[in-house]
Amino acid sequence: MCGIAGIMYKKGPGPLGRDLLDMLDAIKHRGLDSTGVAVYQHRGNGHAGALMMTVGLEPGADARAAQVAVSGVLEDLGVASHFTAVKGTILEFGVAPTDALRILSDRVEALPGVQEILSLGEELQVIKDLGTASDIDRLYEIAKVESSHGIGHVRLATESCVDRSRAHPFWAYSFKDVAIVHNGQLTNYHNLRRKFQALGYRFRTDNDSELIAVYTAHYLAAGEDLQDILERSRGDLDGSYTFLVSSPHGLGYAKDALGAKPLVEIETDDVVLLASEEVALRRIIPDEGISVVEPAPSEVKTWRN
């Protein structure tokens, strides 16, 4: 069992960090192992196409040494860095646009002390760690984030171990700006993983949720839009699942044909709220005059910002 949540403000940025954490806190009983969020913000700081690279460090790693090492890789690849910061066990780098995302990712992840790149994108930042919503907020000040949309997850580990790498959200390694959160199991994970590995994709974990991120990124790269990809997923992904997917342009959900994993939604003129349970939605909109909808099995839906 895991819990998922998503928010999109329709009329511009809102208190995304605070609201996402509040929703995740409301469903923390669905998973106390780890918590994470994926948020979308324009981060150019005057640098057109600039990327945010978020790097997770190994427990006990020397953050300053890792920061210097990553900066060395960027310099070596000729990728300018506009800023860098340390938050808890995460390094942030604002870097110039580059087409060499795979090379950059591989080089950074090979550095001592670096656990993994948590996200890379023009707008996407993934922050995740062990513990609850309040735990990760203490380390990373997520509640301060003002943004248009994002997704979050609380994890109860079932099929792979408890660590940050297997926490959600997942991004599609070396594909910028795509993130997913997932509650469920994919029963054809190994078949699909082999298929995408044969296409050159790298999987960094044994977590089936990572596959959804790769799957989404693959078809986005092929030019499909999010709605088409989610509709396609109903035929391709087998198992019991509900997942949310997000990109800079919006977010969406897909539910499996068995309808065994929960999802409820509220949509108003101002906001879209998605969560595993209504108790999370009511943290944001207590007014029960605003109805909650439970999507049917096999239903998919997207919103564009």
Binding site: E277, E278, V279, E288, V292, E294, P297
Partner: protein, 236 residues
């Protein structure tokens, strides 16, 4: 059973004790509800905010109102109370109900009435997937539509859906009856349609009458074909 208003709503007595769900933990709330019920008083719960496990294990025939929406497992493991939920209910409403009734003014999520052995659950709006899964007795009445796998592995009892039923209605049904007033997306394994007789009409009419539902012009009756399950000992 509590006195019923015209629309089947259990009515609280004047001496009902009000509890604020926002002011206590769910465990504390349920302990207070059971204490008050054991003393014979009715209970009104305000500010439920879709919290889970509200009104669990109440064994006394009192009336309890949840003023708003309840989360998962609302009014579960109960034997006797009449529970009125003025909003909606989350998954697994009334799990293992033995006696009494639960009336939900709006909608219920998936797994409403799992494994109930008696009593009546009424959902005035729509019900989600797996309505009445492995239910062993009693009745569930839905004013609107029900989802996928209605009456999944139904073992005994009566399910009445006045609207439409989703795909695989009556999947692996063992015994009991499902009545559907609208369309049935598809029948499940071992589910067959039987003739809807005057006796069935009388039974359904009696079931829904207290709740002021209008009966559809025609209804369909789904039962087990008896091909897949052969129990020598029946515990129901």
């Amino acid at each position: 059973m509590a006195k019923l208003a015209t629309a089947g709503v259990p009515v609280l007595s004047k001496g009902a004790v009000e509890l604020d769900a926002a002011a206590m933990t769910v465990t504390e709330l349920n302990e207070r509800v059971r204490e008050i019920a054991a003393a014979g008083s009715d209970v009104r719960i305000v500010n439920p905010a879709a919290r889970h496990h509200l009104v669990i294990g109440v064994m006394d025939p009192v009336t309890i109102e949840i003023d708003g929406t309840a989360g998962y497992f609302a009014a579960s493991l109960c034997d006797g109370p009449d529970v009125h939920i003025t909003g909606s209910a989350g998954w697994s409403l009334g799990d293992n109900l033995m006696q009494g009734q639960i009336v939900v003014e709006k909608n219920a999520g998936a797994f409403a009435g799992p494994g109930i052995r008696g009593g009546t659950i009424v959902v005035k709006g729509t019900a989600g997937n797996r309505l009445g899964q492995v239910m062993k007795g009693g009745a569930i009445i839905v004013g609107g539509n029900s989802g996928f796998l209605t009456g999944n592995m139904l073992i005994n009892g009566t399910i009445v859906v006045l609207g439409n039923a989703g795909p695989s209605c009556g999947e692996h049904i063992v015994a009991g009856t499902i009545y559907v007033g609208g369309k049935i997306a598809s029948l499940g394994a071992d589910a067959v349609e039987a003739e809807f007789t005057d006796d069935d009409l009388a039974l359904v009419a009696a079931r829904v009458a207290p709740y002021a539902f209008e009966l559809p012009g025609a209804m369909r009756k789904i039962v087990s074909a008896g091909r897949l399950h052969h129990y020598k000992v029946k515990e129901y």
